[in-house]
Amino acid sequence: MSVTATFKIDYHQFLDENGEAHSDLPGGKLPAFADNPADLVPLYRLMVLTRLFDAKAIALQRTGKLGTYASSLGHEATHVGIGAAMREEDCLAPMYREYGAQFYRGVKMSDVLLYWGGDERGNDFSVPSHDFSWCVPIATQCLHAAGAAVAFKYLRQPRVAVTVVGDGGTSEGQFYEAMNLAGAWKLPVVFVVSNNQWAISVPRSAQSAAQTLAQKAIAAGIPGVQVDGNDLIAVRWAMEEALERARKGDGPSMIEALTYRLSDHTTADDATRYRENAEVEEARRKEPLSRTRKFLEAQGVWDAKQQEALEAECAKQVDAAVAEYENTPVQAPEAIFDYMFANMPESLKQQRDQHVKEMNDG
């Protein structure tokens, strides 16, 4: 008997639940991007905006002005950390709740509302025009990211594809197939597992006997790491490491971000049916906004007055987005047909013309 291979999974946290820097930091200090704490303020501001937007979207749904909506409550550090680490020319293949990352990249709040409001135009971001839109079929986006990375590598573009998948999504074969391809072909792609502990009503423990989800990277022979997903600095740091590695041509990696879904799965869900309030309360103590705020306050770059001003400003921005959404008229009947093909088949033209006629005839 001999040992033919050994592996380990590291866990990284820079800021603890109270926003205090961890005593045991690599090199004894925070990553370079946090050298000047003021540089983190824009990220924090976006986290707050995302959360206020989220609350508003839920309110819209409750009053019948929006369809089913997937909240990002509690995921803000993971999402903004992803967005902040990426370059504009990189490409995001999200699942359906990474608004923080998407806002950072230029997606508009009104896009999000249009999408969940049942209008395809929500997917037609003007910026970032090359990013994939929301992806509902779980884990299918992982392969799009791998494919995008094939394109970047083939076209000699120094770009990286980033995809996000849930803890539940790590049980899908597509997730594994994408990582395996990425490993075999050394693709410039980063897989982020947003482990928020629940897949609707199914807890993380029921998805897999794997102690960590990061270790799923071992199956593909690629680096896997676990980070505190409520720690903005840890997420951004791990992302930057992974992006850098990919950009240098050293291939893919996977990051498991440990966070928690503080909300219901979507507005169509009622989480009290299947999980204990105590667990949620416990998780709430670890949520990302307050810890980031405490850190920034302790560093002297943030205070209560700024917070107040920020909240007022965010409310205005959100209201403006809602107004834009609500003032967007429904698409013309042709829109059902016109984007199916570049070269529309005759039979589809006939269906379109008949439909338009019927709509016009009332």
């Binding site: 369809g67 089913t68 999408y115 969940w116 409001g117 049942g118 209008d119 395809e120 929301w134 509902v136 079929p137 779980i138 539940g168 999504g169 049980s171 899908e172 074969g173 897949a199 609707i200 009503s201 199914v202 029921a206 998805q207 897999s208 169509a268 869900d269 049916r273 299947y274 429904v330 698409q331 009947p333 829109a335 059902i336 047909f337 199916m340 088949p345 039979s347 589809l348 269906q351 439909h355 019927e358 709509m359």
Partner: protein
């Protein structure tokens, strides 16, 4: 006798069969403590325990493949796919194995499994939550495709599907999951598969539909009555194998037929029915067979989904056109 909605009739049938057949196991994503996202399995885990109503990891192809294995080795798996929009990963296991197990092994191994999924649009759901792709399964040899359109038929047909010794894809029209209740006796009585159900008698034209579209089709029947057209309405119920004898009997009497379905038109199940009529009712047809269907497009997001769904008005108009043509 209880007044139940369609989705409750599903639960009732599952509970009956689990109580009477130890080999029935119900599973899927969120079917346990959550009772399914539509509550179709509500209370079952409490009643029958976690082992008989387990939540699975999130993987649809896995659900189909494990069902094949379970069915071949003595169980009767009744698996739920959360929405038809997520059913596509099962295609491989269903066509490559479920529908083949019996014939491949000359009957040595069989595959008595049921795959349940809510299907169809009209509930303002997000992208991928409104699919009607029953035709894909209807083209797979060895697999029955069953669609109830009332609480009573949901109960009786689901029992029959579970008891059937071969694989059944059982599609539940979620738009009418809770739209009305009717009395359904919880007596374990199944209803026959492979058979149409005639819901309305008529003499001028035969309207053929299934699932949630039965609602609009029956409404069209009422409206047509007012306009002096007597429409027979048939619920196909089993999409494969089709009860063409039943449909032919009606069309031969009425001489006309309009087929209604929500799925895209091209290569939908309506095409098969129309093709059979074109061949076998040729001498009896007084007018062209027409189809009122979804468009050959992706189901639009919900702001425009109503435009996509065949409406009572479109059915009535098509019928009147057909009447005018003969």
């Amino acid at each position: 006798m209880a007044e139940v909605a369609l989705v409750e009739a599903v639960t009732m049938a599952l509970a009956w069969e689990m109580a009477h057949d130890d080999t029935v196991v119900v599973f899927g994503e969120d079917v346990g403590i959550n009772g399914g996202v539509f509550r179709a399995t509500a209370g079952l885990q409490e009643k029958f325990g976690k082992e008989r109503v387990p939540d699975t990891p999130l993987a649809e192809n896995m659900i189909a493949g494990m069902s094949v294995g379970m069915a071949a080795q003595g169980l009767k798996p009744v698996a739920e796919i959360q929405f038809m929009g997520f059913i596509y990963p099962v295609v491989d296991q269903m066509i490559s194995h479920a529908g083949r197990m019996r014939t491949r092994t000359r009957g040595r191994l069989t595959c008595p499994m049921v795959l349940r999924a809510p299907y169809g649009g009209g509930i303002h759901a997000p992208e991928h939550h409104s699919e009607s792709t029953e035709a894909l399964f209807a083209h797979m040899p060895g697999i029955r495709v069953v669609i109830p359109s009332s609480p009573g038929r949901a109960y009786g047909l689901l029992l029959a599907s579970i008891r059937d010794p071969d694989p059944v894809v059982f599609l539940e029209p979620k738009r009418i999951y809770r739209s009305y209740k009717e009395e359904v006796e919880d007596d374990g009585e199944e209803l026959p598969l492979d058979m149409i159900y005639t819901l309305r008698d008529g003499t001028d034209i035969t309207l053929v539909a299934w699932g949630a579209m039965i609602k609009e089709t029956l409404e069209a029947g009422e409206e047509l009555e007012r306009q002096g057209v007597s429409a027979e309405v048939i619920d196909v119920a089993t999409i494969y194998p089709l009860d063409m004898e039943g449909i032919l009997e009606s069309v031969e009497r009425t001489g006309r037929c309009v087929i209604v379905h929500e799925a895209p038109r091209h290569c939908g199940v309506g095409a098969e029915i129309a093709a059979e009529l074109a061949e076998k009712a040729f001498m009896h047809l007084l007018a062209p067979v027409r189809r009122v269907t979804g468009f050959d497009t992706v189901m639009p997001l919900f702001r425009m989904e109503k435009q996509y769904m065949p409406s009572t008005k479109r059915i009535v108009k098509t019928v009147l056109d057909v009447m005018a043509e003969s």
